[in-house]
């Protein structure tokens, strides 16, 4: 409680109670003063000086990376065409597959739905992982979308 008081995380009511209590309790006042010291010690933990040529090194790498920043939301036609191709392919395979064993495919569609949902949760991490490789990223999104559409189509047919 004292810690949260110091962190200013108490409600105004709790804070008022705490202030009143502190006026009467020398033990808590002592503890509060020690806690304050702990936090000051954490804050005063010395900063290490970074290497003098750090900026230079970083900017050198960025120049070498030769990967100019692309404006966001630019449509990438290569990825789009590839994605659509894959979508069509995925859709076709599903249509063929359902004619073979319908029960299994309904089950599979549900599983794919879950997979797509999990994939969407991971998209942000994926974005970082790919290190700005937007082509690949868009391709994966298209693929996920294609799978999703195909799965929906299959579920609809068996409702």
């Amino acid at each position: 409680m004292l810690f949260w008081y110091l962190e200013k995380s108490l409600t105004s009511e709790e804070e008022r109670e705490m202030r009143n209590h502190l006026r009467e309790c020398p033990l808590c006042r002592k503890e509060l003063s020690y806690l304050r010291e702990v936090i000051e010690a954490i804050e005063s933990y010395p900063l290490v000086r970074e290497p003098t040529d750090l900026t230079e090194r970083i900017m050198d790498q960025i120049r070498k990376a030769g990967q100019p920043v692309r404006p966001a939301f630019r449509l990438d036609w290569t990825a789009l065409i590839l994605g659509s191709g894959l979508a069509a392919l995925a859709f076709l395979s599903f249509r063929i597959a359902i004619s073979m064993s319908p029960e299994i495919m309904v089950n599979l569609a549900e599983r794919i739905d879950i997979l797509v949902w999990m994939l969407s949760l991971k998209l942000e991490e994926l974005e970082l992982l790919l290190g700005g490789n937007i082509n690949l990223f868009l391709l994966l999104i298209s693929l996920a979308f294609a799978t999703f559409v195909a799965a929906k189509e299959v579920s609809f047919l068996f409702e």
Binding site: F3, Y34, E37, A41, Y45, V48, I58, A65, G131
Partner: protein, 174 residues
């Protein structure tokens, strides 16, 4: 400061390296220090800082400006550090009380000199488990709010508070 960041980020997204260089000079000390406090190795921290800024440059199109640039940048740094620690096969996110340098029953408040107590706490910080070191560094070095720390680490606010509280308990000598 944040407005300036936003402006520089916008320019950097258009490919302006000068603008990005200014972001680097502005944030490199704190990024380096976070990396250093997690890895405890000067060379590793230097390499990681370089990698983090390189990653940030490459991923700028993915930065939508909904969060602060620093929150986003520290998320990259933290992820890279945790991956690196994992690679180094260090004991990750494991609460390890045994690593504390002082015996458990030792009460630092018994040290008379404030300077002594401060030095003791500084040594304790060095021995804190990674997850606690991370949270207290983000909170007290950079002054991030609980919400921002939660965003950076991808954990609930409640967990941030628990980590902070546990870190304080350890440093306080409990």
């Amino acid at each position: 400061m944040q407005d300036n960041d936003a402006l520089l980020v916008r320019r950097a997204r258009q490919g302006d390296r000068e603008a990005f260089a200014r972001l680097v000079t502005r944030h490199q000390r704190y990024v380096f220090n976070l990396a250093y406090r997690l890895l405890w190795d000067y060379e590793e921290a230097r390499d990681l800082t370089q990698e983090a800024f390189l990653r940030a440059w490459c991923c700028l199109p993915a930065f939508r400006g909904e969060a602060k640039f620093t929150t986003w940048l520290y998320r990259i740094v933290t992820n890279l550090c945790l991956n690196r620690l994992n690679e180094l096969r260090r004991d990750l996110l494991e609460l390890n009380h045994e690593c504390l340098s002082a015996p458990a029953e030792f009460d630092p408040s018994s040290l008379c000199e404030e300077k002594e107590r401060r030095e003791f706490i500084h040594r304790q910080i060095e021995d804190l488990p990674v997850k606690y070191r991370l949270v207290i560094t983000l909170r007290y070095l950079q002054g991030f709010s609980y919400r921002e720390i939660a965003e950076i680490l991808g954990i609930p606010i409640g967990t941030v508070k628990t980590h902070l509280f546990r870190a304080k308990e350890i440093l306080r000598g409990n």
